[in-house]
């Protein structure tokens, strides 16, 4: 187990390294003349050059990258070119917002999609058709469109929740809850649709397995078979889908945070990346890739725990 985690972590680190190198090189292709952008057209060329030199932009790209890498491995992502903020601190400030969204969505998705999926897969009939329709609709509609409809109905029309803004968890729990409820609901629609569909499919699949019939022949009650044997065997593929949904969720968070005006990583992405602020973009890419790698690792460990066959030495 430990060697599995160690190997996966090493592979993740290698992936991170490659992505960071490629991203840095690609981002450096256009000659953006950052000094000129910062100082404006009126500034003299000497001043602009001095500014570029101060940012280290007069050096070869490879040297810039190595310098960045040397700091990044120590958790120092430098300062933003355009706002002068410390990137690591800026991200740390915004991380709780995005993390609370992600955790909320993951919990809602896990609970709801397992409930719906198992219910539909075991009972079939009307509830099954309902879940199927919901899955298709939830999957088909682009996430931000669903978000807009939710804002329109619950914030603008019914006024149950604020349409915009964020209250920190540490400030007031009620305030936090009221500001994250709609974003979490908006992000959950798509992932519940995807995962519940997978749970349903796996449950139906497992229910047809020979060992389930044998368990019935042993005289075990159906609820015991469903919750102990079927659920455990059906969970692995569902978890894999949940893990894949997470990558999509990062993209969804960008839009949802922008729509609800949440000061998280997502809205930071929109505000900084379009200007080509390399230190910020690099840090954001690194953070999201680390998030994806970690989620995949956790999913694989969970799947190994659920399915002994997948426990590769």
């Amino acid at each position: 187990m430990l060697s599995f985690i160690a190997r996966r972590t090493a592979a993740g680190a290698a992936l991170l390294f490659v992505i960071s190198f490629l991203s840095y090189m690609l981002l450096s292709i256009p000659d953006m003349d950052v000094g000129r952008q910062l100082l404006g057209q009126g500034a003299s060329q000497d001043l602009v050059d001095a500014r570029n030199a101060a940012l280290g932009l007069d050096r070869p790209v490879l040297a810039q990258y190595l310098d960045w890498l040397a700091h990044a491995v120590r958790g120092d992502f430098g300062t933003s070119w355009f706002s002068g903020e410390d990137v690591t601190r800026a991200i740390a400030n915004r991380l709780p917002v995005t993390v609370s969204l992600m955790v909320g969505v993951t919990l809602v998705t896990a609970v709801l999609s397992f409930l719906l999926g198992v219910w539909a897969g075991v009972r079939r009939g009307a509830i099954d058709r309902f879940v199927q329709v919901f899955a298709v609709v939830g999957y088909a509609l682009p996430g931000f469109l669903v978000t807009l409809v939710i804002v329109l109905v619950f914030a603008v029309h019914l006024r149950w929740f604020p349409a915009i803004g964020y209250v920190g968890l540490t400030e007031s729990f009620g305030g936090w809850l009221s500001t994250v409820t709609l974003p979490i609901a908006a992000l959950s629609v798509g992932s519940v649709a995807g995962v519940s569909q997978q749970v349903r499919g796996s449950v139906i699949d497992v229910m047809r397995q020979d060992y389930v019939r044998t368990l019935r022949a042993r005289g075990l009650p159906p609820w015991r078979i469903v919750f102990r044997h079927v659920l455990r065997n059906a969970s692995a593929p569902a978890l894999a889908v949940l893990g894949m949904q997470f990558v999509g969720m990062l993209g969804g968070a960008v839009l949802v945070e922008q729509i609800f005006g949440l000061p998280g990583i997502g809205s930071m992405t929109v505000n900084y990346t379009t200007r080509g602020d390399i230190p910020v973009i690099m840090a954001l890419v690194m953070f999201s890739v680390v998030g994806v790698i970690m989620i995949n690792l956790v999913v694989d460990i969970l799947i190994g725990w659920l399915n002994p066959k997948a426990r590769i030495a």
Partner: protein, 613 residues
């Protein structure tokens, strides 16, 4: 990849003639195809259909409602909504087409090569694909805008790269599984060159899944593209559905209705694409036969009844031309019913998918007395297993006992409440299945699968159940019970697994054992051992056994009495000696004759090692 993984298209099946027609008969398929066609046509003919020029705005008309010539009204800048909707569709759908083309051009050939040849290309390509999949699409697209500028078309190419894994993985997976199929081997042996094999035999298999994937990925691409435009990173005034939604969102308090049309256009398009994919999949799946019947026919092909070509049987004249009907077979003693298991006039019916029912077992009579082994023989599909499942009350979904009576230990189980029937299972009547490996839950240790039913049925402590389980494992002649107890099913052999299943069947001290082809899936040596074990346990415990088999050798070896089944009916019953030595029913004679035809009569004992199931 973003916005969730595309729902993996199931069942790689090549479309043949009729798929399109079946798709159009599917109501959802027809509706979504019609909606998509209408949208594409409207967008293509935007210049002709638009009431105005997309760039023209008159602030006087801002937020103006519908009027003659402007059926959908005006937006916040006083531009005609219908016009912008039509032109916006061009940009939105056009962007998706670009992304899709890039993804198809890279993903399909890449997946074909990686799946067909494997090797270094496969490793390298798969690694790159995994790298791309770890990238959050939205962040990459936003960063690309910084590098490449705000031109939407260029960003769509980037999006194409990002959705390439959807096609690569799909094609690679299917091709890799097809590569080792027999017909591809046959094509290779017959000297076809690789490109020809790929085109003729491989491409045809991936065609349908690719079409489904195209619909799904288009939906994702349109969603992502609109999302980007919604964030306002597009190029200024170009109308797109995403940009229209962005503008509507800015005015959400003042004129929320502005969201209606672009939202509807986007929702309808994405929805129609996903529904079309679902309908396509249904249309392709409909074509195949139901999995159950397919399995049955495959088994029928390989399972020919086999018996020992002993001297006794050689007296039977093979090949009779008698009519296949119940003739002078000894009917089960219909008056007197056995105490342990008695089946009278049992019929089993299945609900057909299209409505209606089909009877697969027609009026079976059967008796098993305590301490007796009764063989139920017949070819595959004759209804043996259905009869066995009815006795256990574990008929699969859609199946039910539609007529007759089954008593176990004197209790009528037809119509018995499920709860009471469940109480009988395991403790009065137990089941030994056919395939040992698939009948153990792969997620639990052997031990826990033995302990769980005992704790539940016998209400004993865990320690007591563990002790009993270890004892049972040594009774079924497992050398190291503790080790097997702690193993997972995939860590033990098939013969071992069958012993575990027998131990499980014995665990709650049943009186009647229903064994469904208990040795068919095992090696010859193991078969003999397992049969010996069954006989020993049966004698020690005075069990009644109903042994379902197609193997007349097993019958000769083990059974006291035999019932021969054909097409859902019992055609002959009698003692094993009677039936094997002097069969009365022509079908039984045929069964015995079939073995004689291709088995040399010299060797006295030749069990069914030739069979593969």
């Amino acid at each position: 990849m973003s916005e969730g993984a595309p729902i993996a298209p199931a069942v790689p099946a090549a479309p043949r003639t009729g798929t399109v027609r079946r798709l159009l008969r599917h109501p959802l398929g027809l509706a979504s195809a019609a909606v998509l066609a209408a949208i594409v046509l409207a967008v293509l003919f935007a210049p002709a259909l638009s009431p105005a020029d997309p760039g023209v705005s008159s602030l006087r008309d801002a937020f103006g409602g519908p009027s003659a010539g402007h059926p959908l009204g005006f937006d916040s800048a006083g531009r005609d909504i219908l016009t912008r909707l039509l032109y916006g569709g061009r940009n939105t759908l056009g962007g998706a087409v670009i992304a899709l083309s890039v993804a198809l051009a890279l993903g399909v050939p890449g997946g074909l090569l990686a799946g067909y040849y494997g090797g270094w290309f496969d490793s390298a390509a798969s690694w790159i694909v995994n790298l791309v999949m770890a990238l959050p699409a939205m962040v990459v697209l936003l960063a690309s805008r910084a590098i490449l500028g705000p031109t939407v078309w260029v960003l769509m190419v980037v999006l194409g790269f990002l959705v390439t894994p959807a096609f690569f993985r799909l094609v690679r997976g299917i091709v890799a599984s097809v590569r080792n199929e027999l017909y591809v081997d046959a094509a290779k042996v017959s000297g076809l060159r690789d490109p020809r094999i790929v085109v003729r035999h491989v491409l045809i298999v991936v065609r349908a899944p690719i079409i489904i994937q195209v619909a799904l990925v288009s939906g994702i691409a349109i969603g992502l593209q609109a999302g980007l435009e919604f964030l306002g990173i597009g190029s200024g005034d170009t109308p797109t559905w995403g940009a229209m939604l962005n503008e509507a969102f800015k005015n959400i308090q003042r004129a929320p209705s502005l969201m209606l049309w672009p939202g509807l256009a986007l929702g309808l398009t994405s929805g129609a694409l996903v529904l079309l994919a679902a309908a396509l999949r249904d249309a392709l799946e409909d074509r195949g036969t139901a999995p159950a019947s397919r399995r049955r026919s495959r088994r029928a092909a390989s399972a020919t009844p086999a018996i020992p070509a002993g001297s006794a049987v050689s007296a039977v004249s093979p090949g009779t031309g008698g009519t296949p009907q119940v003739t002078n077979g000894t009917p089960a003693d219909a008056g007197e019913r056995a105490g342990l298991l008695s089946v009278r006039d049992l019929a089993v019916s299945y609900v057909l998918p299209g409505g209606g029912t089909r009877e697969v077992v027609h009026g079976v009579d059967l008796d098993v007395r305590a301490g007796e082994i009764v063989g139920l023989v017949g070819e595959s599909g004759s209804g043996k297993t259905q009869t066995a499942f009815s006795i256990l009350g574990i008929l699969p979904e859609g199946g039910r006992v539609s007529r007759g009576s089954v008593t176990v230990g004197g209790e009528e189980i037809v119509g018995m409440p499920e709860r009471r029937h469940r109480a009988l299972r395991g403790s009065v009547v137990a089941y030994v299945p056919q395939e040992p490996m698939s009948n153990l839950d792969p997620a639990f240790t052997v031990g826990s699968q033995l302990v769980e039913p005992m704790r539940h049925k016998l209400r004993i402590s865990r320690a007591e159940a563990v002790r009993r389980a270890l004892d049972l494992l040594s009774q079924v002649e497992i050398a190291d019970p503790r080790r097997t107890f702690d193993s997972y099913p995939h860590e033990i052999s098939g013969g071992m697994a069958q012993r575990v299943l027998i131990a499980g069947a014995m665990s709650c001290d049943p009186e009647l054992l229903v064994a469904d082809e208990p040795t068919t899936a095992l090696d010859v040596m193991v078969q003999a051992e397992v049969l010996g074990l069954l006989r020993r346990l049966q004698r020690e415990r005075g069990l009644g056994v109903l042994l379902v088999t197609h193997n007349l050798g097993v019958v000769a070896d083990l059974c006291d009495r035999v019932a021969v089944m054909r097409q859902g009916r019992i055609v002959e019953t009698g003692t094993a000696e009677q039936v094997l030595h002097a069969p009365r029913d022509p079908y039984t004679r045929k069964l015995l004759g079939a073995v004689l035809d291709d088995a040399p009569a010299r060797r006295p004992w030749q069990p069914s090692n030739a069979e593969v199931v």
